[in-house]
């Protein structure tokens, strides 16, 4: 990771400039060129270190979402993970070390949309899907303080 990449990750997880040439503004702040900044972000994106440059929406702010979990028999986990991935309403889907071994976030325009996805996953997997909607947010993800080693 070079210095420009590190400074992009440290300084721009929030507060992205809302100007016509945002990458030029970032470049100005980091003493670089606009095209260097764009190139560095392309590189970080291709290597999977960043998933995108974009907006994170507050939960409950637009549409409806929930955290869902199910207990897949270990030999069926991959098959069920694939089934869950097939829904465009699912944006995160993780294995976790627990009896409830598959955890995923469902986001839809409204609560009915969330319910439909839960019902469909349950029907097609034959498993109970636990629906754990958020009631209160104490700390949103406002970026991540990276400790460079």
């Amino acid at each position: 990771m070079n210095e420009l990449e590190k400074r992009l990750l440290d300084g721009f997880q929030r507060g992205f400039p809302l100007t016509e040439r945002p990458f030029a503004e970032i470049a100005r702040q980091l003493n670089a060129e606009e095209d260097q900044v764009i190139g560095a972000l392309e590189g970080l994106s291709e290597s999977g270190i960043i998933s995108r440059v974009g907006a994170a929406f507050a939960p409950g702010g637009i549409g409806a979402s929930t955290l869902a979990a199910l207990a897949a028999p270990p030999e069926r986990l991959e098959e069920i993970a694939e089934l869950v991935n097939g829904f465009e309403e699912v944006n995160h889907n993780y294995e976790r070390e627990h009896r409830l071994n598959l955890w995923f976030v469902i986001t839809a325009p409204d609560r009915d949309g969330v319910d439909r996805v839960i019902a469909e996953i349950s029907r097609r997997s034959g498993l109970e899907v636990l629906d754990l909607p958020m009631l209160e947010s104490y700390r949103l993800n406002l970026g991540f303080d990276l400790q460079w080693s």
Partner: protein, 167 residues
């Protein structure tokens, strides 16, 4: 807290266009505007307004922790009395190593936990030590809790807010 009533049709198109992230070009907001049927100026104005209203919690680079060496991703869940949970949640958020903290619905008997805190660490041992530190500092040594480390990531991306334009 459904805020959808505050979003105009143009906002919804903008949210959909922002889903995959900003294009990495010199005029990204003009590009987004072209997808959403908005002018560059209106895109910028609408994004500012949504940030101020808290509909967008942040705008910037979205990092993937795992690729940066943060491989010990733990969801730590706690069963906290309903009358205490707000106070504990407020306390948790003052710890820098907690990246997310939410109260969620319990589903007894399968799921008794109501407080969720996320810790992204490099080493499992360090995360376990942080959980102990947290419990001690908040007087929760005896509170029922579980630590769920993540395994495979089957999917990780931003939410997609389109459903035939129904949003």
């Amino acid at each position: 807290m459904e805020l959808t009533g505050e979003l105009t049709g143009a906002d919804r198109r903008l949210v959909t266009a922002m889903g995959p992230g900003l294009p990495l070009c010199r005029r990204p907001f003009r590009e987004i505007g072209a997808r959403a049927g908005l002018s560059e100026k209106n895109v910028i104005t609408a994004l500012k307004r949504m940030l101020e209203a808290g509909i967008i919690s942040r705008l910037g680079v979205v990092v993937r922790h795992h690729e940066l060496g943060y491989k010990a991703n733990a969801m730590v869940v706690w069963d906290i009395a309903d009358e205490d949970v707000d106070q504990i949640g407020e306390r948790f958020k003052t710890f820098d190593f907690i990246t997310l903290c939410y109260r969620r619905k319990r589903r007894p008997p399968q799921w008794p936990y109501n407080l969720f805190s996320m810790i992204h660490g490099r080493e499992r041992q360090a995360v376990l030590a942080q959980v102990d530190e947290l419990a001690r500092a908040c007087g929760l040594e005896d509170a029922p809790r579980e630590i769920l480390f993540s395994g495979r990531r089957f999917k990780q991306r931003g939410a997609v807010y389109n459903s035939g334009g129904a949003l």
